[in-house]
């Protein structure tokens, strides 16, 4: 067995993403693996530098599911956020902020802190030769900005749902929908993940209704695990206004195909430019994320029904989307399939979309496949998609 380059995993150590990554590296005979927590890094970035070895690789994992880290990122974004008009919390409000399960905290401010953190990380990597990340920080930052992703994917001619704009309010959203002759739209916070804050909106001359996981309580927004329907025009306006204050993109609702009595989309993990693990996310409601009571569908059955040509096209679209981030070793693409299986659209590209347990592809889980690919063929020179 050839020598494994030293590996550092930056993440929240008790999080299963990190555990799975460690386990995968271990299974490939990796010995020099160290883990640095986001807490440590945020305290003192140099700690990471001390762990990194020449010719080593850095694997950047999600900072999510740690309230301390979340608050730290919000704090880091506070100054920049103060210069913008989006929802934000002042530093003193942040200090007093208690943990409330499911609460949506200011996403733009969080992103600004996250981007700053990733910039520090990029800077640290650039300081010494031979320090490389499996996915460069700038790409990760870009994938956490849905408006920027529209530009990047558009430049690579990747089909996407039509971008209607970045509405400032419900009134503004209705206006841009009217101008586009569009009755149905998805409103997505630019910096959200896991469908947090997403609103599916249907409108007509006489009214509107919205589907969302967001619950409003005492002026706060919460993510729930169920999709609820809003029909009260006052509540819809309040909901959409609140989501717009997070900075959001509005897209024309791309109709999803159905199979086995429900609708679906595909999560396709592209590793080193090639599609690998794929999940069919089957859903009774308009929002397909699996944590919302949706389920993995019968992918083999779907593939048979789509036929080899349509399936191949789907994979190629996902690969093209990942190809817009050539310096990233792995990209998880959410692919929408239109009824009839002839048209496709990329709904999202995810930096941390590889948490797909119990889904072996060619005998390997997602993490093992990514590390194996790294050993076989490291990614090219790190020029990120966002420049």
């Amino acid at each position: 067995m050839s020598a494994r380059p030293p590996l550092v995993i930056l993440g929240n150590p008790w999080n299963r993403r990190v555990v799975f990554a460690q386990r995968a590296a271990d299974s490939l005979g990796w010995r020099e693996v160290s883990t640095v927590s986001w807490r440590e890094f945020l305290h003192d970035p140099e700690r990471l530098a001390n762990h990194m070895r020449p010719d080593g690789w850095l694997r950047i994992e999600s900072p999510g599911e740690d309230f301390w880290v979340e608050k730290a990122l919000l704090r880091l974004g506070a100054d920049e956020a103060a210069a913008e008009a989006f929802e934000r919390l002042a530093p003193e409000e942040l200090e007093a902020l208690p943990f409330r399960r499911g609460e949506i905290l200011p996403m733009r401010q969080w992103y600004l802190g996250w981007r700053k953190t990733l910039q520090r990380l990029a800077h640290l990597l650039a300081k010494a030769k031979d320090r490389r990340a499996m996915n460069p920080p700038a790409d990760i930052a870009a994938m956490f900005d849905k408006a920027q992703c529209h530009e990047i994917l558009g430049a690579s001619d990747v089909p996407r749902p039509q971008l209607l704009g970045l509405p400032e309010s419900y009134e503004h959203l209705r206006e841009i929908m009217r101008d586009a002759g569009c009755g149905r739209a998805f409103l997505k916070p630019c910096h959200s993940s896991s469908a947090s804050g997403v609103v599916a909106l249907e409108t007509s001359r006489t009214g509107a209704r919205a589907f969302s996981t967001v619950e409003m309580a005492e002026g706060r927004l919460f993510n729930s695990l169920t999709v609820r329907e809003y029909r009260d025009p006052r509540l819809i306006a309040e909901l959409v206004d609140a989501v717009c204050r997070q900075r959001s993109v509005a897209e024309r609702w791309f109709p999803k195909a159905g199979h086995d009595g429900e609708r679906f989309d595909l999560r396709i993990l592209v590793i080193g430019g090639r599609s690998a693990h794929a999940v069919m996310r089957q859903s009774a409601g308009p929002i397909t994320n699996l944590h919302l009571g949706n389920r993995r569908g019968d992918l083999d059955g779907l593939r048979r029904r789509m036929g080899p040509v349509a399936w191949q096209t789907a994979l190629e679209v996902a690969e093209r989307a990942a190809g817009a981030f050539p310096a990233s070793l792995y990209v998880a693409v959410d692919l929408l399939v239109a009824p009839g299986f002839r048209r496709f659209a990329v709904a999202e590209v995810n930096a941390f979309g590889d948490l797909l347990p119990n889904l072996p592809h060619e005998g390997r889980d997602t993490y093992t496949a990514e590390f194996a690919r790294l050993l076989e063929r490291p990614p090219p020179a790190q020029v990120s998609a966002s420049g």
């Binding site: 039509q162 009217r178 002759g181 569009c182 009755g183 149905r184 249907e202 409108t203 007509s204 001359r205 209704r209 329907e229 024309r252 609702w253 791309f254 109709p255 999803k256 195909a257 159905g258 199979h259 009595g261 429900e262 609708r263 009774a284 409601g285 308009p286 239109a338 009824p339 009839g340």
Partner: protein, 303 residues
Amino acid sequence: MIPEHATEWLGYPVELYDPANGTPDYRNKVYRLASDYEAEEPLTDVLARFIGGPGSEETPALIFGLYGEHDSTPVAIVEALVALRARLPKLRGIFLGDIISEECEISWINQSDVSPLFRAYPNLEHFRIRGSNGLEFGEIHHAKLKSLVIESGGLDVGVLREAVAEDLPGLEHLEIWLGSDNYGGNITLSDLEPVLSGKKFPRLKYLGLRDSEFQDEIAAAIALAPILARLETLDLSLGTLTDEGAAALLGSDAFYGLKKLDLHHHYLSDDMMARLKNSGVNVDLSQQQQGEEEDDRYIAVSE
């Protein structure tokens, strides 16, 4: 929810009409004509193009999907079909509104007065429509119509009253989705009396009273209704049927004369399912749902 477009209708495979695929196979396929979700082309233009192809006079049936996105109604399509009646001499089936939930939820689909179609196409045998907002049947006298299907997420009693009062002596298949009171459904059991009494539609063989929130009451009423003895197929699927309704059916002699009973999407117990399976009637018991309390029981299609 409605997850998919029809893939088969009246025994024909259904395909989306796409001019890029060349001349349609008018004789052997049924086409769905729909306005593309980003397309600018009105559906009437799509229909004109479809009719313009050689051999279009063979068209056995037509399905219409999305009319257009924003607040559109099929008024123009109804008018166009009426104007084109001489070009469609073999048309036997019209399905208006093959629209899936991802395109427009059923309770938001707009329809219009469809009575001109019945006057324009005296040889029409099958009429199916999804969505009941603005739907009107008016007064119809039609000797050839064999099947009438009204799919709704919440059917207004006015539409039902028109439908069951029509003069349709040849009607063999009647299917009505009642839907939810949350979405405009306001039919009560007594409104179904003209059908259940058997006075209307002497040739009826298939009765579907589907997608109902009072599916048990419907089952109990049908168990005692004169119509049951004449039916080959009873379809009480998509609703909130529980053991109560099924027990009423099993207590009726006429029930055992059915050839087929469709109950898919139901809230029956395993015991009751076993009793139905042993009844000698061919029963579809797929999609068993879980719902102990009444509030936990939902019909399949409403939104």
